[in-house]
Symmetry: C2
Subunit: 412 residues, 2 copies
């Protein structure tokens, strides 16, 4: 198997560095995707569960654009609904009827949703949910989980990140995951001051094993939140529709007051949503939030078609099953080479780590060797399985992983 050539990516990255800070911004920024040269940097095209880089190399993609591509690149059902809407209107002075249809469908689909409203980024949804909770309670403080991610707004970032100021964090209290006692303590300590508890339905930090809720965690947490009049915000931006079509909270047996969706909601078209309980509807209507493209009808038609298609094929069950095969296959290959690969979190978005190492250098090298052979996985972030991953993709994945793992072991 000929190792991949990244010369096209490298040349483009050189050009990019002259006109874009770091060459590439955001989550695939090479400051994060170390070491340089481990991965391709630019994609030319995508189809199903695979994309091609600018050098013509093809990859089986377990990042799915960091979540959105739940039905695979170029899904005909979603793309066709999108194109039909685009013949009529997209961004327009007025909203389009499809906005109402989409809200109606979400309300029918998601038990926690009596209403919905739409934006573009996941962070738009989490920011709106926080504003709604503050409007509803007249309180300022938020409780969040240590290492929990709710978008890149300053209050959601680590306090030591560049450009973040102390005022951004003065109302955010971080507690450990799965720690009901800590939740009780801060609620008692800040009685009458806490507007909301914001958390993903299970804990999926970067650089660390992901963790499911402990037995009874959400039940006990919700009893406490209710007692203290605190709004429960489920950040389902990342996990949404990969665990349960009704919101990932349903799988874990609780019902939040507000739920945030984005990522996989429209198979790559840009839209996010906040949905919530009737008790929060007035507060939701009282806040001021708007964006230049928030009425764009194309992405709404895509979201409606995507959700209908996901429901039709029972996508969460399918993706969980593919994810189980994927993680079991990789774990078994590693065991065959005498190594323990740990898969944590839900199988539809597993976090992988080599048990023998505390850092991620070995795993980084492994992901690099996989990439060179046509298998794309980030080293320190949960992966994303899609409904487009086939048995053939899995078999090729296993063959590449076996060879890549042997190559890394040989070079260590």
């Amino acid at each position: 198997m000929k190792p991949h050539d990244y010369s096209g990516s490298r040349a483009l990255f050189e050009r990019a560095g002259r006109v874009i800070p770091n060459g590439i911004s955001g989550h695939f920024n090479p400051v994060v995707q170390k070491p340089l040269g481990t991965y391709p940097y630019f994609a030319r095209s995508g189809k199903g569960a695979r994309f091609r880089d600018v050098d013509g190399n093809e990859y089986i993609d377990y990042m799915c654009a960091y979540g959105p591509m739940i039905l695979g690149y170029g899904n005909p059902v979603v793309d066709s609904a999108y194109r039909e809407q685009m013949k009529l209107a997209d961004t327009c002075t007025l909203a389009s009827p499809v906005m109402v249809e989409l809200a109606e469908f979400l309300v029918e689909l998601v038990p926690a949703a009596d209403w919905a409203t739409f934006a573009k980024n996941g962070a738009d949804a989490t920011n709106m949910a926080v504003l709604m909770a503050r409007a509803a309670t007249g309180r300022a403080r938020l409780i969040a989980i240590e290492g929990g991610y709710h978008g890149s707004s300053p209050w959601m970032q680590s306090a030591d990140r560049s450009g973040v100021i102390s005022a951004d964090h003065e109302n955010v209290i971080r507690i450990p995951w799965n720690d009901v006692d800590a939740l009780r303590r801060v609620l008692d300590e800040h009685e009458g001051e806490v507007a909301a508890f914001i958390a993903s339905p299970y804990h999926h930090p970067v650089f660390r094993d992901n963790e499911l809720p402990a037995e009874g965690y959400w039940r006990e947490a919700h009893l406490l939140l209710k007692k203290h009049g605190v709004v429960s915000i489920c950040d389902d931006v990342r996990a949404g529709f990969r665990i349960d079509m009704g919101g990932s909270n349903e799988y874990f047996g609780y019902r939040p007051d507000l739920i945030c969706f984005c990522k996989a909601i429209a198979n790559g078209y840009p839209i996010s949503a906040v949905a919530g309980a009737d008790s929060l509807k007035e507060a939701a209507g009282s806040i001021f939030q708007t964006g230049s493209f928030w009425y764009s009808a194309g992405a709404m038609a895509a979201a409606l078609a995507c959700l209908q298609e996901l429901a039709r094929i029972d996508a969460p069950a399918r993706i969980l099953e593919i994810g189980r095969k994927f993680t079991e296959g990789l774990t078994s290959i590693a065991a065959g080479q005498g190594l323990m690969l740990k898969a944590s979190g839900m199988p539809s978005m597993p976090y992988l780590r080599m048990e023998h190492e505390s850092g991620i250098e070995f795993h980084q090298a492994l992901c690099g060797e996989c990439a060179r052979r046509g298998l794309f996985m980030a080293s320190h972030h949960n992966l994303f399985v899609s409904a487009a991953h086939t048995q053939q993709d899995l078999e090729q994945t296993f063959a590449i992983f076996d060879e890549a793992l042997a190559a890394v072991r040989a070079s260590c």
Copy 2:
């Protein structure tokens, strides 16, 4: 002329109210667009400078989706570039080459830009610019203009808006527009504490006459900012490419450190940008900002095509000229009926107000009568002229306006 029937809009609005807070969120929220029934609520389709509502009524549209549709709905040049890119890749695990091409083009086009980075909302751009300025200076405070709008993030909203907390505003100092003395005073008072001065290139508040910079304002302001080591952020989200292709600051004779674009940059496709000087590039690369769809290549291809087309046809000159004819025509019709209509701001995004009234009730009624006859304008917000508005559109606009004004006068 048969008055328009909004029964389809009303029926849909009824349905919407059950599943969406206020029925319609955001800038065309009926809480703002009073009184209920004055306007249609939902659009079916758009073409050129016109859209059709769900009842089949057609409107000459002077809102252009509140800015984005600078080349008109369904522009073939932009749409074709978009569709070509969509055949390859849109939202993908890696960025696409068009991101680099777009950054290169912006750097060539915009004198203030040595680099660029991309997001979705206008507020993403202004938020990023603020983070960059704080990263560069290690300071927290911002100076902004009273009534200036930089997106709907809490720090940008009025402090009394629902859900906004005092911490959101503790680092924002508001000063009047065109007031160099006030700027000097707060810079002296907060010496070494101010990260950035953020302002639009001219002042375009809602519910108030818009104001151009006074002679020498930007020159003197910039001398002060430089002296105090404060980053100058030009929020060109609204005015961008309707005054000068190189950034509206060029028209007004100054050069900011950072400039924010959104709205008209891609003729309706969702993308925003921050661009800036080399001196801010390291700070720009040091901050953490990312979004689920920020690599989406379709909108980047649309932006590149839109900017190239705008440059090719010298759109700002054309749109300013159409805007001049538009405002002169309306003003002259009003004068013919014995009323003074005041147009303020730049002619490509004029703010209209009846001189004889202090409130906006008369003007609201006038806009309602215009809408019923097929001319769409918001009553309390600057309008947006596009390159798609034709001489025929203008003539029909004048005929409708004349009749609508007479109708309002008759009913007063």
